[in-house]
Symmetry: D4
Subunit: 247 residues, 8 copies
């Protein structure tokens, strides 16, 4: 309903002045900050809500969850929490589940409908798994159809290549790597679908907390990689949702 | 044709040993480096080829174009060239065209088929136009259906909002901005489709050659932005192609 | 009273040599270092004194407080302390109060007179609240008339816009944000009054301890933002005092 | 006129639907981007308009000036231009004036009214004068009452101190310095009014293009300095306007 | 066996289609990623395997060791572990040995054959010894013939010079130093053999975690130093193996 | 005694072959590394020895002390230790003394003779005192005549100026400051003697671990400051010794 | 001949005092600085001398060449020169040859003997060729047996793989790449011989003058890469000489 | 004469009110800024004045010289000028002399008295000579007794060692080096006098404009080096003056 329509409806008495004012004052930018803080409205798919747990204490998170559920949310995802916060939430919501590697909490009361297209999440090494888990749980929560290749680093590039069918069947691929961050370039050369590169802070010395992987991915010779922030598994999954569910 | 098929065909005499060997030695990673150097094979859409002109002299570029056209290429795009290089190429290919802002050369001998879905390219200010032009010409070359909002900075955010229909009709949006690089966050809050953020080196002082815009975009509170290298209009367009033509 | 006057008064016996010497030796730069160390003289408003607690132990802080109160100070603010230091101070000054988020201690023995003009403190998210609290308590202590919008991040930009009256009634606004630090630009576009931007170290990965927010604010396209150091809520409040109480 | 009023006026036939729609679609954020691009609307004081000349060619600048003057602008300021661009503009607007140190162009057709309160602009050395000039011309253009101490570096701190009356009579002070950027701390200790610190790129070696001065100012022990971007004389003047003309 | 041979053997019935396919699908890049994760295949010398322990928990490391030993590995080296992880492994493999300075675990079931050529490992100071130990144990494990000069810093450069025979008898030298990292330059000037420079994170203040040593070594005026990552004793030893066992 | 003399003396039987060899093998560079490791020979003044404690465990330090005392050292200074290490040393050397702020241990068995010229150590604030203490104890140990102004920050610049006699009587001044590091510039302007600037890691946010103070001091407009590493009180004292005891 | 021997020989009249003195004064460190300046003594192979041309004017270079040739040098290599300097040298030495891509000058009067072992130089792209040329000419000059794969980037990784025989026959490989610098990792996975990684300043935006490639190579997951300075083709060749000619 | 004395003298009629006022208004900080701008008062030795030429045009420099000479200056040094500026000055002051390497101008009308103690200036390589020249001319101008070893890099470290007498006879040593900046450590180990380390911007790639040399010198293992800004030959000479002429 655009401004003209609202005005017409108002003049015609279909809506009263309070309703008109409310509709007109709904800013077009509503989602921006909201997602920034608790990611819930922008991220809303069906009745799912997302909370960014970092820098919020257990009571604050609990409070937000309560309010959301009051307002009709069925499913909740809280990222970047910890076990201590989880224990508090668990006492109130007994079906809450905690993924310790990625420090993610979910409360699922309603089955999440999945799309058909596949999102493949590839991580380079064991140390990158926490970020891969964050991406995976977020993507599942957002209704994506996720497949993972967590051991591609352990198995060697021949394992990657031996999984070439899986890779070439994916509609979008998230590639997670630390150190030099070269894996997205390799994957980017194997497929034509969007490749989302996630640099991780895995490494030491001159990796400077993920800077080496980040710069490597931004300067990749494979054209058209999408890069997100260091360790940002959540953002990668959300970008995948934008790509795969953009209708 | 997978390995098993090749082997069968070979045993059955459908292909000889030389052909089999050639097929088997075609590495699965072929595209990686190629795209890195001249972007041509990976980028090949129909009969189109792309050359990265930076660090190649006019004769080298001309030589590559000749070889490509010999091999059947109809359309050529050479990015990051300059007027001097263009003059050399123009003498041989009279239908070559030069876009001075983005320093891009195209030779078009065959109409490029466009997809239906719209790619919107938004740039923040006049100084960002060269990068926007690089994205636009590349996207057109890759068969994307491009619309642009180059003056969104000049017109103010109300112009952006007054074009809300255009924005919300796009299937993918490239947002180009220098300085603090906040525009992608604003656009990312208005739409659910993929938003590709291109930081530019526009700015001075503590913008440190685009670092401020790059960090701003990587740390955006709008979830799920895809970030590319500073001033990388080409990469943004190529990522858009991966997203919009990923069948 | 300038040098000439002092000399005349001295010669005429209106002041004696000790008084003259004292007047003449009052260095024009007295405040600089003092504020740097314990912020007390420069910050003196009525009988209020300020101590920078970081890097001072409980006994040192207690010693300074005692000396200040001996010299007539009624009210004391000690920033960047911790609970342990507070317990020591509490034992001597039972009316001491501790604000745990910002780690600030106050001792108030005399009501602080407030000015009429409003200072609005806006913070982007829950994680930025400690810095907002430091700004708020400091500003109150300095006699400013503070209003806060701490949940503007949680409520979304529509809440910001729905509070447009509050925002446009303020005489000065402190905007506190981490990550990309874009909020000050948005607020800076809504008002003509001074906007003080405080980058925070909230974020991860390429936020590099607040660098991304700092650079974003320094390179803001909104003209005329005043930027202070990362996490410097105190400095922002003090700058607000300079602006609002500059008679 | 707020939304409710517009609605009432519309219902009462005082304004028609087109007018209502136009009024309602005027976004509250209009100024943000506008200032970012050409700084003109946000900066509008009376009939004055400002253009950011960097990255715009002479024809673009001329085109913008024409449009602005058509729309009623009397006075124009274009920052960060060069002599070549000026020559083009001069041919059309013969009363255009060029300030070569700061590369600023002005066209003044209507006297600018000045406020009473004084803005003092202090620069540390000869090399900082271009930035001081940018600040001065911008401030004059914005209707501020500017006094300058350009030779405070040459004359030594005793000249600064000998001008203590001028300094202490100012309502706001812009201090411009490169190298270590310590001057704002000294000035900040002498006065209680707002001090705006402008780091410059003057220096060599480890000054890293103004980084040393920027960090020095951000970490100043003088409480409550307002810092702007390196070499940003324009922004400092605009911030001064926000402070001094905020009613 | 190259592709042609495999094809011939297949056609001639010497190998069946499954065997042929397996041989042909063994990617030429197999080692790359593998070494990246657990360094085992690439590093395999005889029956020795190497595991990179950082970011793997005790159970994961134990699992990998078990699998390796099942597959025939006799000797195991696990780098970047800790005592806790060692205790878990010790319970299963009682002959496991722990080197606490470098946090390295070895399990040796088969004597490692040594080459004749000498690798000399020189460290500048006591604080550099953990890195030197990592290099030494790795080199021993890889079959190199290691001699060490750990006290060259303590003894002064005259001790270095008094050991000139040892130094000039080495076939390859690893030089480990923090702070300014100048030692490799000195050694590089004394010999004609390869000198591998390992910067360490030893230092404080502007050593920035080893950056000063790293930059010093990269910019050394001694021609032809080989530099590895900060604190990368393992990599230095492995590079020595490439140099000394490259036949 | 140069080489020719040694040869002559040897031939003439004034010295025997062992003595000749020893004299000839005394490397000209002996001090370099030695000071780097344990600072003892280079630093030797009378019978005093210095050990750099960082990265050495209690037993190593104890071992070095024992060896030094065996070789005739009367006095020992061990810098950058901790209380735990001190307890171990105390058990063997009951007259060992521990300075907890600077984490320095001394064992004094022989009175240290002082020079006449004064070294003044000025620190800006309470938080800089540990570095000032390290400088003071080192300087005392090296036989310098130290005076301190530790509270110059607390007392304000007027206290600095009120101590102008002390300042202008000093033969060398060490100035220790964090944050913006401007104090050495002020002191450098008051005196003609050498001023040694020690940046400290005191500060937060964009002080980046002392980088702001370091850059400020390196770019100081006061000509001829000597800068040392961040938090390097030891180095400053040693430089003072080179200046004051260079005969 | 050690000191004792020299002394004995001298006493026994086998050598006279001048000879003895000369032998004894031959400093063990002679090569260090020398190589740093003009690389000639350290680099001396047969009668070849090397001059580092950067920062030396044509007359200085000419003077050094003359002195070298006077002292018996047959062959000269001057790196980092330019055409102007070459013209000056050419007038005196007509057989001087100039390689414009790498800005290298050679004067060859005596055939350089080559070793058998092969050094392979691989460069990623056209823009890296100047650095590859510097490496190649230097290596040839030093008597190495060089083969090059300059077009491996253009030809794609399949060309690299199709040249697998060449690659696996090399005794040492220099890999030159800019941007993300991933090529050395790929090559490092294909061979067991030493791989020398040369980052180049090729790239733009966040490549920060070669920093991205440098960090990528230092953090490579391929174990045991030798890294040299950005654009340091000379150093890579010299390191190859140390590896391949280490008698 | 302190304040009390001035007051007494004034009251007793020994000085009049104007003289008293003048004496009392002479700020204690006078030198700070003055040296910062034109270095003249602080630098004043006898009748010599110094001008920092960077960022001042020829007319400005000429104007300053004129004023200085009017006020009695006999000798003038202007640093960081260029040939063009020199030509302007030469026309007025025909005895002006230009040193092109360091871009320094001197006008000498009165012989400069030299002290006895020697200042030795050592530079590592040809490219460092401009900075060495700046140090040398400045030091001569300030009345120091300068000796130089400019070719110590060219000649190799044995030349340094062969000049050990010169080195050990110096009372203060300035060591100038780029790249890794290790030379000051070597010299610092050979002498007990003050060593002033000047990093230069000589180098390429990861030398990052002198950062590598600067960090190397700040982190030197040779205790007690005095470091100045990159390329700051002037500052090094001025520091030497403070050390050698500190009455």
């Amino acid at each position: 309903m655009d401004i003209k329509q609202i005005l017409e409806n108002y003049k015609n008495g279909l809506i009263n002045i309070e309703e008109s004012e409310k509709l007109l004052s709904r800013p077009p930018l509503e989602d921006i900050g909201y997602a920034c803080i608790d990611h819930n409205r922008e991220l809303r798919t069906g009745n799912s809500e997302i909370i960014y747990g970092e820098g919020k204490n257990a009571q604050q998170i609990l409070g937000i969850i309560k309010k959301m559920i009051e307002k009709g949310a069925k499913n909740i995802l809280a990222s970047r929490c910890n076990d201590e916060k989880f224990q508090v939430i668990k006492q109130v919501y007994s079906n809450a589940k905690y993924y310790s590697a990625s420090r993610t909490i979910t409360i699922i009361n309603e089955e999440i409908e999945k799309i058909k297209e596949k999102l493949l999440i590839i991580s380079a090494g064991t140390s990158d798994i926490p970020i891969a888990e964050e991406a995976q749980i977020t993507a599942n929560f957002l209704g994506l159809n996720v497949e993972t290749l967590n051991d591609v680093g352990v198995a060697g590039i021949h394992r990657l290549l031996s999984k070439i069918d899986i890779i070439q069947n994916a509609s979008c691929i998230i590639v997670i790597a630390g150190m030099e961050g070269a894996l997205p370039s390799v994957v980017g050369g194997l497929v034509d679908v969007p490749v989302i590169a996630v640099p991780t802070s895995v490494g030491y010395g001159s990796s400077f907390g993920g800077l080496s992987a980040l710069l490597g991915m931004l300067n990749s010779c494979a054209s058209g990689l999408a890069v997100v922030n260091i360790d940002n598994g959540f953002g990668a999954a959300y970008l995948a949702k934008r790509i795969l569910k953009r209708k």
